[in-house]
């Protein structure tokens, strides 16, 4: 299953000949930048809120919109980072290091312009790498059996547990709760109803969209409502936006290098765009002849972090499309959106749905150009959004969450489910249990359960089948990487925690 250039050209023809696809991409990017630039609203929340708008439309239109939200959301975070020193999304945290000092010098417009162009370059390179690399990874995935798929699900979850919180243990508990929730409903292998207690609403298990909206929409809204008084009214001045060609040319190498780093960091399940941005920023600083300028309002710093985090968008799509393992929470939502449209991403999806896969590649590349146009044309408008009254905005978002949960099955049970999950998520976050492992477990739970049971049945109950180096070397590799990732992160966290405890004791 190599990259098929003829199918790729056909996909471009399909995309460019359908104006609705462009319109949905445009809507997605604009909505993504809007949610991204508002602190408290994330790309995940944007996708969760917009999924209901994809019902009843052809799958490609909906997926284009959600990809637009993803790309726009990651870029949008840079606007508030630069203007008010508050990253709209975690991915934009590295951008504020140089973006905000530039704004303080009266160069906010230029910083936004550099961020936009860097996002475009990084995003395009990331999308191209995704396009050319994905078919090979998918063919590799075709060799997987039940043991490998279970090990892969374990790997995906362990990676997100390792990076999503401050405690490995709390991450594991969150993932286990998510997995347990997926066992509600009909058993996928025997058809036996489990934990339904006679309720028809639970036969199919908790519906994905209401759970998603509850976790990332209502949970966040409730937090915003609680912290409402902390929100300040903001005045923003942008100024000249377009950076000069000379300025961008000077950072061309940084852009390219950051894009490559961002894509590969993004392709590792669990890492996410914030890590991609910081990795790119650190490398740019290390390689720079003037590292002392970083952190003082240096164009190269903004360019590196923005190229890195937007390249990560393409990278994160690779494991989701080819292996069915989402790279982060947003790709988990995209995977859910594909499942809503009756597609199960993975190697077989890749082989049998070329009419969807290749247009998705084209759409991801096109999304970057739309981002460039929308970003540069409406930067002032997005900056103005920051001054909008959050109290009114939050109320409207709350309404959209409720209607979004309802619109999947026109069922009030789903609304109450979303509200229940929302309040649960609010308390989980307060007590520092990460939410991303729950979402990933919710997606990967059925894959993990079915393949675990199949593999054990095939091996007559031998639990060592997953680490059998002769018959299942790929599975063994995934298990080893999972253990190493968790162990190394545990040791790092333990060290930090011990330092923290020592400080606490000294203070006492």
């Amino acid at each position: 299953m190599d990259f098929d250039f003829a199918v790729f050209v056909n996909a471009w023809a399909t995309v460019l000949s359908n104006p609705w696809l462009i319109v949905f991409l445009f809507i997605g990017v604009t909505a993504g930048i809007s949610v991204g630039c508002l602190p408290g609203l994330t790309a995940t929340m944007g996708c969760a809120l917009l999924i209901p708008f994809t019902f009843g439309r052809p799958p490609l239109e909906g997926l284009f919109m959600l990809m637009g939200v993803f790309a726009g959301g990651i870029y949008g975070g840079s606007i508030s980072s630069i203007l008010i020193r508050t990253p709209g999304t975690p991915a934009a945290a590295a951008t504020l290091l140089d973006g905000y000092p530039m704004a303080q010098r009266g160069q906010a417009g230029k910083a936004i312009g550099v961020a936009t162009v860097a996002s475009f370059v990084g995003g395009t390179i990331g999308a191209l790498i995704m396009t050319f690399l994905s078919p090979s990874i998918a063919s590799f995935g075709l060799r997987f059996g039940p043991a490998e798929f279970f090990a892969l699900a374990l790997f995906g979850m362990s990676m997100i547990i390792a990076v999503s919180g401050v405690s490995i243990l709390k991450g594991i508990i969150a993932a286990l709760i998510g997995l347990l929730v997926t066992t509600i409903g009909l058993d996928p292998l025997s058809g036996l109803p489990r934990f339904t207690f006679g309720s028809q609403n639970l036969l199919g298990g908790p519906t994905f969209i209401p759970v998603l909206i509850g976790l990332f929409g209502i949970g966040q809204v409730l937090r915003n409502v609680e912290k409402m008084e902390i929100v300040h009214e903001i005045q923003t001045a942008v100024g000249k936006i377009l950076p000069s060609l000379k300025e961008m040319w000077q950072v061309k190498l940084t852009l390219f290098k950051s894009a490559v780093i961002g894509t590969f960091v993004g392709a590792i399940p669990g890492t996410g765009c914030d890590i991609a941005a910081f990795a790119s920023y650190v490398e740019a600083k290390r390689a720079s002849k003037t590292p002392e300028k970083f952190g003082t309002g240096h164009i190269e710093g903004v360019a590196a972090s923005e190229a890195g985090n937007n390249a990560c968008v393409g990278g994160a799509m690779i494991p989701m499309l080819t292996l069915g393992i989402p790279g982060d929470a947003v790709t988990a939502v995209l995977l859910g959106a594909l499942m809503v449209h009756n597609y199960q991403p993975g190697p077989i999806f890749f082989r049998e749905n070329l009419d969807i896969v290749y247009p998705l590649f084209a759409g991801m590349i096109l999304a970057q150009s739309v981002l460039l146009v929308v970003g540069l044309s409406f930067a002032r408008f997005f900056a103005k959004l920051l001054t909008f009254d959050k109290r009114i905005f939050t109320a409207i978002i709350f309404l959209l969450c409720i209607i979004g949960a309802y619109s999947m099955q026109f069922n009030s049970f789903d609304v109450f489910l979303a509200l229940g999950v929302g309040i649960f998520a609010y308390f989980l976050e307060y007590y520092r249990y990460p939410l991303s492992p729950i979402l990933l477990a919710f997606i990967l739970g059925p894959i993990a359960e079915q393949n675990l049971r199949r593999a054990l049945q095939i091996s007559h109950g031998d639990p060592f089948t997953f680490i059998d180096p002769i018959n299942h070397p790929i599975s063994l590799a995934f298990v080893i990487i999972s253990i190493l990732a968790l162990a190394s992160m545990y040791l790092r966290m333990r060290k930090t925690r011990l330092e923290e405890l020592k400080r606490e004791r000294d203070e006492a």
Partner: protein, 157 residues
């Protein structure tokens, strides 16, 4: 977060034990016991949760729980609970009141609870947002929003 971790651990153990027992009912298919049947995965998870909860409780008791990084603001918490209750009430009554009548009231009350300023802005947003949502869902996406019984009774279907 010592206390919170201990309470969470106890709750997790209780939940896991109950779930484990309930899952035991799915072990048999007819007269045959299935070792890797419908009960296997949930029972495995329950075992893992109990182990993690025990570990968390041990961490808490030995003073190794995470430090609280934020505190719930009492006024903010009350406001959040109120907003949540309003949302539950809004959807619990929507079958009678209907989307068109209930939503502007819901939004306006929510904005007041959140302390939004400016009556014109609040009323305008409370009317405009539901109108846009209604148009989008009913006309563009052809998704029916709850009509309620009041408006159909007054104006007919």
């Amino acid at each position: 977060m010592k206390q919170a971790d201990i309470v969470a651990s106890v709750l997790l153990v209780i939940l896991s034990v109950l779930t484990f027992m309930e899952a035991g009912n799915y072990r048999n298919v007819g007269a045959q016991v299935e070792y890797f049947g419908a009960a296997f995965f949930p029972q495995l998870l329950c075992g893992a949760i109990v182990f993690c909860a025990w570990l968390q409780a041990v961490y808490a008791l030995t003073g190794r729980s995470l430090r609280k990084t934020e505190h719930i603001d009492r006024r903010g918490f009350r406001r959040m609970i109120l907003a949540f209750a309003i949302a539950v009430f809004y959807w619990a009554t929507i079958e009678w009141t209907g989307f068109v009548l209930a939503t502007p009231v819901f939004l306006y009350v929510l904005m007041v609870v959140m302390g939004a300023k400016g009556t014109v802005k609040k009323v305008g947003s409370a009317l405009l947002a539901p109108a846009l949502v209604w148009l989008l869902f009913e006309k563009l996406l052809i998704i029916d929003l709850p009509p309620g019984v009041i408006l159909p009774a007054v104006f007919g279907e």
